[in-house]
Point group: C2
């Protein structure tokens, strides 16, 4: 997965920095901010930041307890991956991640009248699944950096990274199996089905990356983004809804909300991968382009049937560092950037529509909306 991490304590990225992706959402669903525990500061991402801080406070002890139950080496690889320890076992100050997915679980439960404390184990399970897929995807993609550190496979080898990922998937399901909440079984079934979708998504992604550029369609790439990113965000929301005792329709609407928000996130993440500030993304300038990645703006440009698209096709893949600026410009002129941003806005609009189906009261929906806006605004 191509998630980029921002350094801890960094100033929030504003919507304007990612050129004009301000979903026409908040006004419709959330005319009046309710204030409440999270404070009245949604517009600049502060509400989401507070929600995520509280999520980490609530969920991290459960995560650590689960990981501590792993035997020797499995525990060591996982604590390294989470940034809790250095490779030699010394404690590290790193954070395990921004906790977007557990944040969605808690916020979804709360929005539907559930107890956030009752859903902590489920939120931890979703985060464990997310991290299991990161461990394996890094092995498969040969990615060497994650959260500004060397990936687990580069430190411990492929075998242990694969095994630690396997153990983490099992741990996720064990945390749910140990949970006495009546929704735990349905959540486990949903999470397991989501893992299958994530696996197929990663397979298709790998297969697309191996195909020549002119044999890849935009629909295929959107399908990958939905399977690899949307599916688990949707599952997180659905799990929260299940724990709140929501009905089937609400659960499905919550899943669709998370899926569409996840797609919007991936579109923006891909835009930032090309035009973002390396100091914020943690990746060198043009890394995605140099790697020949078939990101969404690239494929939009290549399939645009424009002169700029044809110019890009001459260059891509196989760019040298000197070509990065020219390629980014060609993608822009071919409409790849505008398309991605318009798509992201459209997906956010759909997400908001689904959210208002599941949670008609805008005050209750506020936390989820803040999180969705946060992820699509911050490339996180």
């Amino acid at each position: 997965m191509s998630e980029r991490m921002l350094a801890v304590g960094e100033a929030p990225r504003t919507a304007g920095e990612v050129r004009g992706v301000v979903p026409p959402a908040r006004a419709g669903v959330h005319d009046e901010r309710a204030g409440g525990a999270a404070g009245d500061s949604g517009a600049d991402g502060q509400e989401a930041a507070v929600l995520l801080d509280r999520t980490r406070e609530a969920v991290e002890p459960e995560l650590r307890r689960a990981v501590d139950s792993l035997p020797g080496t499995m525990r060591r690889v996982v604590t390294y991956h989470f940034g809790w320890e250095h490779a030699d076992g010394r404690p590290a100050a790193g954070r395990s991640g921004k906790a977007i997915r557990p944040g969605l679980v808690l916020a979804a439960a709360r929005a539907l009248g559930g107890s956030p404390t009752a859903v902590v184990k489920a939120a931890a399970a979703v985060e464990l699944v997310h991290n299991f897929t990161l461990l394996h995807d890094d092995v498969i993609d040969r990615d060497s950096t994650r959260r500004h550190r060397p990936t687990a496979w580069t430190v411990f080898g492929d075998a242990d990274a694969i095994l630690a990922g396997d153990a983490l998937q099992a741990l996720a399901l064990r945390v749910l199996a140990d949970d006495q909440h009546p929704a735990a079984g349905a959540a486990a079934a949903r999470l397991a089905a989501c893992v299958v979708e994530l696996c197929e998504g990663q397979h298709v992604d790998t297969a697309l990356e191996e195909r020549p550029c002119d044999q890849v369609t935009l629909d295929e790439c959107l399908g990958v983004a939905e399977a690899k990113t949307g599916a688990l965000l949707g599952c997180a929301c659905a799990v929260g809804a299940l724990y709140a005792g929501a009905g089937q329709d609400e659960v499905e609407a919550m899943d669709a909300f998370g899926r569409q928000a996840g797609l919007a996130f991936q579109l923006i993440d891909d835009v930032i991968g090309i035009w973002g500030d390396p100091a914020r993304t943690g990746k060198p300038v043009g890394a995605d382009l140099l790697a020949g990645k078939k990101s969404l703006p690239v494929v939009a440009a290549l399939t645009s049937d424009t002169a700029a698209g044809a110019e890009l096709a001459e260059l891509y893949p196989g760019l040298g560092p000197a070509d990065v600026g020219r390629a980014a410009d060609a993608i822009d002129r071919a409409g790849g950037r505008d398309w991605a941003q318009a798509q992201a806005a459209e997906r956010m609009s759909q997400a908001v529509g689904q959210l208002s189906r599941a949670v008609p009261d805008p005050d209750l929906a506020g936390g989820l909306l803040a999180l969705a806006e946060f992820v699509t605004r911050r490339s996180s």
Copy 2:
């Protein structure tokens, strides 16, 4: 995992062929054969063969249904791995395996008064977990042959073999999560904990194989055999017991029965890996020795403090084909073969003790005992 497969329809291996491992078991636990559905033919493995045939009949439809629910490529890799299809998708006549683990689930449930039909999903889940670990272990160990066919990673590549394994683990837990039986949650927790043990076992195994021979102890190797082989056989029996509504003591005794039988199996499997008939094992003569594998008889010989052990240490690892006979002979003279067989008998005796704790009535215990004897006799 180092399981060797016998060709379908092959004559059962008799105890005498594997020099003297006839556990002093049956007489104690099962003085009088009950006959019953499975027939009165335990002594030559026929009772077990019948039980396994019936298990396959009952469980394979559930397995196929689960696998058919996988999306495109995940399904294709898994159906190939199970031997149901060729790599190009044409149907294949292969069997998915001997179904030892689901056989144990069904037999354990039956022995404790449970309904074998109620436990079919759980038996399928255990078999799915087993196959997920095979897919990943083959990638990690770079094993190129499984069930007389090229392993999945050699056909589909590492990435798809890893992803298909991931999907299979998820599928196992989903099958249990979808099961309405009241024991399904406890079974899922137990199976997930077992996966963690399998992962750590595979890690330690890989680590031991990389260490110099003189830095490996027999206890470490026995620990690996318990984690990699004993744990899932034990879990299969425990899951059957849980579905029968057994109490905690019975469940643990059933787990211990399966574990000890699994250890006995691995000991005999290692003996056969050195002295077995290649036509039966499906591996070339001396394959384990040529690969420098730290199998139990080898490590017993190397740590025997005998002249023959020292002779083996001169040769091992790094044998050429011409040295295989001499190495096997040195292991034998150093007592490695006798030790492994005595250990196997001792483990079977412990297994039988645990079984009689869980199931005091020898008539009811008969099926489980027949399966345990079958696996330790047939290297399967």
